[in-house]
């Protein structure tokens, strides 16, 4: 209706379109074609806005207006100083600063048998055959964040775990934005877990507090038959940052996949998770904890596609909202006609600490099979007054009583993280968030 007064492109869109235009022509090949197609799609569609169904609650065109240049590489010293999350834990750490792997800070020696880790830049340069799988998992609908990532990311990781390999020590990819100028970084990774292998993949995100940088990451996970993959994400971007993440999963037969996302950072964060269950009898769980305050906006959007029979999917998301913050949970489980005996259960719970906080819960089921057990639920409310009274009647001050109850609330989800080191780290991050509330 007011199309004539709205500029066709926001400054941010204009900057991205010019960045896409200045991309070097990478020549022929499938990946180059994919890159060009993604760029074209973005030029046509721009950033998603509230009239795009999947982005209804996260009007990115509006939330991401400022034009920022593409990030330039960080110095090793700055990257080192900035990457603090999950340090010290016994994890194999790889640092990715401003979208590029920093070899000097990455523990790439003495890889366990069956584990191989290459940078995406190297894999692209050498034309590694494994890249035949990059871009192989395609969401049902056009996703602007993913399209930008596909077009603009030039580094990231390519990790393969050989069939049957049991890799005990988790790999931790520490993403950090380091620099003084707000810029946009893009990182793309591919993780292939072979049949029967066992692997734990962690990633963390952080950056300077006051800087309005943008981090766009996308990772594709190919989970082989009877493989077991745990993914743990810790998103603690700086308070002015924009974090856009896309996680893509293809899950094989009798596989186990558990993901956990802990999100307490960024001014605006959106995580889109697409999972296709393409082998029968697998078990997947996508869980998360979101803790937000001030004017933060954090969106968790899940799309779980049951295409084969006998799979079990579980989602449990806990949101804690203080001040004027906003959290969005959109979860869609699709059960195709062939996916008989699907057992799917999705739950999103929110605890509102701030009077002006807003939670948007949109769980959905779309079922085409007739013999399934599926359910979803969503709750949203303040801390139970009776519980608070009980704790306070024993002398525990209000803030501390609230902290204990919030910890219990998110603890129910964090408890689901299998790896001890990572689970304890997340409990500690939740405690830290509560302590910072004062």
């Amino acid at each position: 209706m007011n199309a004539d007064i709205r500029p066709i492109r926001t400054p941010a869109e204009q900057a991205l379109v010019s960045a896409l235009g200045s991309l070097p022509e990478t020549g022929g090949g499938r990946l180059a074609d994919l890159r060009r197609a993604s760029a074209r799609a973005f030029v046509e569609n721009g950033l998603p806005h509230r009239r795009v169904e999947e982005w209804k609650y996260t009007d990115l065109r509006n939330l991401m207006r400022e034009a920022v240049p593409l990030a330039s590489p960080a110095t090793v010293a700055r990257a080192d100083a900035g990457a603090r999350l999950l340090n010290g834990a016994d994890l194999r750490r790889i640092v990715v600063a401003n979208g590029a792997v920093v070899r000097e800070l990455s523990d790439l020696d003495g890889l366990e048998e069956g584990l191989s880790i290459a940078t995406l830049a190297d894999a692209l340069a050498s034309g590694d055959a494994v890249l035949g799988q990059l871009g192989g998992i395609v969401p049902a609908r056009y996703d602007a964040a993913l399209a930008l990532n596909t077009a603009l990311a030039s580094d990231g990781l390519v990790i393969t775990v050989a069939p049957g390999a049991q890799i005990e020590r988790p790999v931790h990819v520490a993403h950090v934005f380091a620099g003084d100028i707000a810029a946009a970084s893009f990182a793309r990774s591919l993780v292939i877990v072979g049949a029967g292998a066992h692997f734990t993949y962690a990633e963390s995100f952080e950056g300077p507090e006051g800087l309005a940088y943008q981090a766009n990451v996308a990772t594709e996970f190919v989970v082989g038959d009877e493989a077991h993959l745990d993914v743990v994400r810790l998103q603690e971007e700086g308070a002015a940052a924009i974090h856009l993440a896309t996680l893509l999963f293809d899950v094989g037969r009798k596989a186990q996949l558990h993901t956990f996302g802990f999100s307490s950072g960024a001014a605006v964060a959106r995580t889109s998770l697409y999972a296709t269950l393409s082998g029968a009898d697998s078990h997947v769980a996508f869980n998360g904890a979101v803790l937000v305050k001030d004017r933060q906006h954090v969106d968790s959007t899940l799309f779980v596609d049951h295409t084969v029979p006998g799979c079990e999917s579980r989602e449990l998301f806990k949101h804690v909202l203080d001040d004027n913050s906003r959290a969005v949970f959109q979860g869609k489980i699709v059960v195709r006609q062939a996916a008989q005996k699907t057992d799917g259960r999705m739950m999103s719970r929110a605890l509102l600490l701030g009077d002006d906080a807003e939670m948007d819960n949109k769980p959905e089921l779309e079922i085409f099979a007739d013999d399934v057990a599926c359910g979803h639920g969503a709750t949203c409310g303040a801390i139970d007054e009776d519980l608070l009274f009980y704790l306070r009647a024993r002398g525990i001050p209000l803030k501390e009583a609230q902290s204990l109850l919030v910890q219990a609330f998110v603890g129910e989800a964090i408890e689901l993280v299998e790896n001890d080191v990572l689970r304890e780290a997340l409990v500690e991050r939740a405690e830290g968030w509560l302590r910072a509330r004062g």
């Binding site: 519980l387 306070r392 009647a393 525990i396 609330f409």
Partner: protein
């Protein structure tokens, strides 16, 4: 001045226009005294205990409550606890996800902190809990669970008395601590309460049954009806109530 002085207390449900629950209740508790309050269902006994503990669902419309001369009604809930008010709940609630030991320690340390005392050390705390829970026949496994989670009715009541024993309050208010206890548990819990009787501690024991008062022998017995104390006497009053019921008081008050 008595340790706890309740004078002409009037209270209603917060926000509710008509319903007055306490209608001019007065009671004085001196250190060392045990007062039993008996009275028909709905007479306002639990309401009185909640108001003393600071529950925000009620509005005091008239009267006063002081603890050692200080205005209790002005204090925050946790401040009252730190000053020594303890309510053993009629219906203790479950607090899933908060470990019992974490809760006990947070409560004890918060109270000590507010009184300007140092935090208790871990070994001292463990010793304290072990000694007190052992005396109350509390299974160590229960302490590993969330607060009251999955406890039986009787176990919840024991847990209340354990909290009381650890926190060592000045004024203990026991709201129907005997309900839900089997005969042996009643004895154990009563012994736990008696162990806390001391010349510096006052107690208000709310109960429907004379049986409890055989174990915890009160100095005074009060009959509460329709929001006030309508008769007070010695421990023999409980026996009289057991025999005759509340009919005569209900007629009086009507």
């Amino acid at each position: 001045m008595a340790m706890l002085e309740i004078d002409n207390l009037h209270a209603k449900i917060d926000g509710d226009e008509g319903k007055e629950i306490l209608k001019g209740l007065s009671l004085k508790v001196n250190p060392g005294e045990v007062h039993a309050i008996m009275g028909p269902n709905g007479s306002g006994k639990s309401t009185l205990s909640y108001i003393l503990a600071g529950k925000e669902d009620y509005e005091v419309t008239d009267g006063s409550v002081t603890l050692d001369g200080e205005d209790l009604l002005e204090m925050e809930i946790d401040e009252r606890a730190a000053k020594g008010v303890f309510l053993a709940f009629q219906y203790p609630i479950e607090v899933p996800g908060v470990a019992t030991m974490t809760f006990l320690r947070a409560a004890l340390n918060a109270q000590r902190k507010k009184r300007g005392e140092a935090e208790i050390s871990t070994p001292d705390f463990l010793r304290l809990v072990k000694a007190k829970s052992g005396a109350l026949g509390i299974n160590p496994d229960m302490l590993k669970r969330g607060v009251n989670v999955g406890f039986s009715g009787g176990e919840k009541k024991r847990m209340e008395i354990l909290q009381m024993a650890i926190l060592e309050p000045k004024i203990c208010i026991l709201d129907e601590t005997d309900s839900g206890l089997d005969i042996d548990a009643l004895k154990v819990v009563s012994e736990g309460v008696n162990a806390l009787r001391s010349p510096d501690r006052g107690m208000i024991v709310i109960t429907h049954y004379q049986r409890l008062l055989n174990h915890i022998v009160p100095d005074f017995v009060h009959v509460m009806n329709k929001g006030r104390i309508v008769r007070s006497g010695g421990k023999e009053l409980a026996l009289e109530l057991e025999a005759n019921g509340y009919a005569e008081y209900q007629q009086d008050a009507a």
